[in-house]
Structures are given as C-alpha cells and as structure tokens.
C-alpha cells in the first residue's frame, strides 16, 4: 500500500510537470511551477520544448522576437531564466517578486558608457545581459535556489 502511495504521488508530481509544460502558463523566477498565475500572454509567447537535465528541467517559451528558457528544479521551483533574441523579454514578468529589487539596483548602477553588457547583483538575484543588436542575450538566476550539483554555467 505504501508503495502504491509513492507511485501515485510520483505520477501526481510528474503529471503536474507535464501539465505545466502543456499549459498556457509559465513561471517567474523563484516561484513554483505549480502556482503560476501569470500566463504567457504577457510575453506573447508560445510553449517550446521541455528538456530534462541532471537535477532540473528547461522549459522553452518562444515569441517571434525572443526565446526564453526557464530552469526548473526537481522540486518545481524556477531558479533561473535565460534568453536570446531581438529584444529583452519583459523582466518585470520573468523576475516576478524580485523585479522591484532588480529595478532599484539597476537605478543605482552608474551608466558604463561604451559597454555592451550589464551585470546586476541584488541581495537575492543576479541578472546579466550581453550581445548586440539582433542578438540580445541574458540570464537571471537566484544563487540560493540553484540545485546542489548544478553549475551556474548551465543557465545559458
């Protein structure tokens, strides 16, 4: 009976992940993939592939202008996002509850003229941007939420 319960729970968990992949929803940084309330309409994006890696899954969300990849831990928490495209995705959407501290740190960061990249480190998250016109790239992650054994370089 105990074994059956485990299987049920496992299936429940798996199906939740599958639902998240198939649904019209995506997660914001630090939020649970199950409790997502924002939909992809905010990014005008469509569901892309979901790929499994050691310790996490990556869900792609694609709009005509930008491809976003969400890094989701085995426990269903989004610990990183990465993007590339013609535009930067709406970070207010992607950073979720961290958006305010990002904006505040960004506001306090002096302009580095002549640069084509940016690194913002707040109390809780790191946001990095690089690239150039027609190929703007970047990533954001919560260092404390990166699963054990997963390298920050895998968020790309």
């Amino acid at each position: 009976m105990k074994k059956g319960l485990y299987i049920l729970l496992l299936c429940l968990g798996l199906s939740t992940v599958f639902f998240a992949a198939a649904g019209r929803v995506h997660a914001a940084l630090g939020e649970s993939v199950k409790s997502v309330a924002s939909d992809m309409k905010a990014l005008s994006a469509a569901r892309g592939n979901i790929t499994s890696h050691d310790g996490y899954t990556v869900q792609e969300i694609n709009s005509p202008s930008v491809a976003v990849r969400e890094y989701i831990s085995a426990s269903g928490v989004v610990f990183g996002v990465a993007w590339n495209g013609l535009v930067r995705p709406d970070l207010t959407q992607l950073l979720g509850s961290y958006a305010a501290e990002y904006r505040e740190t960004l506001r306090q960061t002096p302009r580095a003229r002549g640069r084509r990249s940016l690194r913002i480190e707040t109390n809780h998250i790191v946001v990095e941007e690089w690239g150039h016109m027609r190929n703007l790239r970047g990533r954001a992650y919560v260092p404390d939420l990166i699963p054990p054994g997963v390298s920050v370089d895998e968020i790309n």
Binding site: A21, S65, R111, R113, S117
Partner: protein, 396 residues
C-alpha cells in the same frame, strides 16, 4: 487563473490516474560621385568629432542630415560609429532640420531599441536625406531619439533622455545587416521594437523592410556592398586621440580594393566564433564596445580592477594573450594576439585611447575598439558580394 484551479486539479488527477504523460509538447537619389575622396568618412577616436569629455575609445563621425528634398541640411558631430548596430539614430536635441515622419496605418511609426547594457532608445522613425562623406544623399528612415514621444512602451521605460545620458549625439550603425530588425518585424505586430502611435497611444505594429530603420551605407548607389574601418596603431601607453577612415564600399573604387585578408563569415545573428583559453565563444567585432570583453581565464592572471572600475581588468603588468577567430561555419581560423594592461594605471594618464584595455564578461568574446587599432577591417553587407565573398562577414 484562480477560477481554473478546479479544472487544473481535475486534469492533474486524470493524468495521475492514468499516469499518462502529456506530450511536451530605401531608395537612393542623385548620381554617384567619382572622386576617390567621396567615399571616405573621417573618424576621430575621441578628438575633434567627439564631444568634450567623451569616454575612452569612443569613435566618432559626423553625418550630414537633410530634410527630404535637401532643402535644408545640417552636419551633426559626435555620432558614435557603431559596427555592432544597423541604422542611424540621432537625438532630437541635436537636430534642427525637419524630417518626414514615417507613417504606419493611421499613426506615426516609432521604435524601441534596446542595448545589451540595459539602456534603450525610444522615438519616432523619420525619413532623412543622409549624406556620408561626399556620397550622394540616401533617403532613409532613421530613428529620432525622443523619450517624450507618444508613450514609451515597457521595453523603453528607461529610454535615454538626452545626449548627456547616452554619451553621444547619435549612433551610426554600419554593421553588416541592412535593417535594425529585419523579417521578424515585417511579419509580427508584437515584435517589441516597432510601434505605431496616435497621440499618446502606441501599439505594436508590423513594418515592411523598406520602412524599417536602415543602414545608410547599405543604400548607397555605388559603394553599398560593405564598409572598411581603418584606424592607426598606437603606443602601448595609449594616445590622446587618433584619426582614421570609414571607407564606403569594398572593391568598388581604386581606394577600397581589398588585399591580404581572411574573410570570416557571420551567422544569421551577426556572430562568429572566438576560441580562447580552450573554450569556444560566440563572438563579434564592434567599434561601439570600448574594450576587449571576455571571460577571464583566471583571477590571478587577469584580476578585476578595484571598485568602481571592477568592469575592467587590472593585472599587475601587461599580459600577452592570444585567441583564434573562426568564421561561423568553422573556417577559416586566424590567430589574434592581444594584450591586456592595467586599466587604472593606463587611464590615469592624459590618454584616452588604448589598444590594451578589457574586462571580464561572461558568455561571449567581444572584440571592441582595441581590435580596430592598427588594422584594416572589412565588413561585408548581407545580400551583397565583393572579391572577399558574400556578406555578412568580417575580413581582416
């Protein structure tokens, strides 16, 4: 989403019960000139074409901008020469000629351009007669940078307000693409770049390629297959200012015939490959980036400078390094030696141009202005060819 939760729970239960996996499921005008000098645009790195107090390694040109019909023209200095972008953008504050607003539907076309340093430019798209060197004027849509135009979209909430914000009067993007956006903006209204504004209301719009902001160098009647950036070499401790040339056209006249260079084809995004320290990086070559930016091989070899210059490297003594650049398709490969000096020491002199400053940056190898010092760099326009091959490419 709250109202759909019962359905969500039901669906999860159904899926769990079966334990079934869901399936993841421009046009030109005038006649071409014939004098050799006509296709030369002077560059000063810092120096007379830049505004006072410019940041290090800033390449400037002047551009002549005319009202359509060339009834009135104006020469604008302190325009950043940028091989990493496409099209001309000038701050409204620096313009005193009236340009022709490009329409989109029943409104005015505007655009939001974002840069990888987190900055952005917002403003209307207007047609100007743009004169590069002594070339014939090209009638081309440009962006008039104006953060007060209509209502800036969310992607341009932090748009530059003035030349002082940005550090220049405008940007001349002469990289190898013709439009700043391209086909995506021609077929999707929700592209995040182009908007149509009526009064203060702006909404996303599709824009034909010919109405998009375009690279004036690609629209020249004769010298339209690429550009050449020529800057002199400088001493290891830097220079106060240097002058060079932006030559329009590749092999279209006697003064722009290429020789002794390798051609590195770029991919659809405008990138090549640089192999450095055993790693293969996405890479680009950009006059608009003022240093060499790449992942530090080690903090002991290339440490960051102390705050507030921690974007830059401050090794105790100058470090000699080398990388291999490759075309996007994998060939050819060419060794590029370079040096990184101590930014804080170099910058403390009265010099403003350095071929050996750089900083730590993840994810890519950005060959900024130092790459161009002492080199002749050919930039081949997409869809055009020359004896160096078909664009987009860099050759050096």
């Amino acid at each position: 989403m709250k109202s759909t939760r019962p359905f969500l729970v039901f669906l999860i239960l159904v899926l769990a019960a079966g334990c079934g996996g869901g399936s993841g499921g421009g046009s030109s005008s005038g006649t071409s000139g014939s004098s050799n000098a006509d296709n030369i645009v002077s560059i000063t790195v810092n120096g007379s074409l830049c505004s006072g107090g410019s940041y290090p390694n800033k390449p400037c040109v002047s551009v002549k901008v005319c009202a359509p019909g060339a009834s009135s023209c104006q020469t604008v200095n302190d325009i950043l020469l940028d091989t990493g972008s496409y099209g001309l953008r000038i701050f409204k504050q620096a313009l005193n000629v009236s340009l022709e607003q490009v329409t989109g539907g029943s409104g005015s076309l505007a655009e939001c351009i974002q840069y990888a340093d987190g900055s952005s430019d917002w403003g209307p798209v207007q047609t100007a007669g743009v004169i590069l060197g002594n070339e014939p004027a090209v009638q081309v849509p440009i962006q008039v940078i104006d953060s007060t135009f209509g209502t800036a979209p969310r992607g341009c909430q932090n748009a530059d307000k003035s030349p002082a914000d940005a550090g220049f009067n405008g940007i001349l993007g002469v990289g190898f693409f013709v439009q700043d956006c391209g086909s995506v903006c021609a077929s999707n209204a929700d592209n995040g770049i182009y908007y149509v504004c009526s009064g203060s209301t702006c909404s996303g719009t599709e824009v034909t390629l010919s109405s998009q902001v375009q690279n004036p160098a690609a629209l020249l009647p004769q010298d339209n297959n690429g550009v050449i950036v020529q800057l002199p070499g400088i001493p290891a401790n830097g220079s106060a200012s240097v002058t060079g040339d932006l030559v329009l056209g590749i092999g279209t006249r006697s003064n722009n015939a290429p020789s002794d260079v390798s051609t590195y084809g770029a991919d659809q995004f405008g990138d090549i490959v640089t192999n450095f320290n055993g790693v293969s990086y996405i890479s680009f070559i950009d006059t608009g980036t003022n240093g060499l930016f790449f992942p530090s091989p080690s903090a002991s070899q290339l440490p960051d400078c102390p705050f507030p210059d921690s974007d830059w490297f401050c090794p105790q003594s100058t470090v000699s390094l080398s990388a291999t650049t490759q075309g996007a398709s994998g060939s050819p490969g060419g060794v590029v030696p370079f040096e990184i000096g101590n930014f804080d020491s170099l910058i403390s002199s009265s010099n403003h141009i350095f071929d050996n400053i750089g900083g730590n940056q993840r994810g890519e190898f950005a060959w900024g202005l130092p790459f161009f010092l002492g080199r002749t760099v050919y930039i081949g326009m997409e869809g055009k060819s020359s004896s160096l091959g078909s664009g987009p490419f860099w050759a050096y």
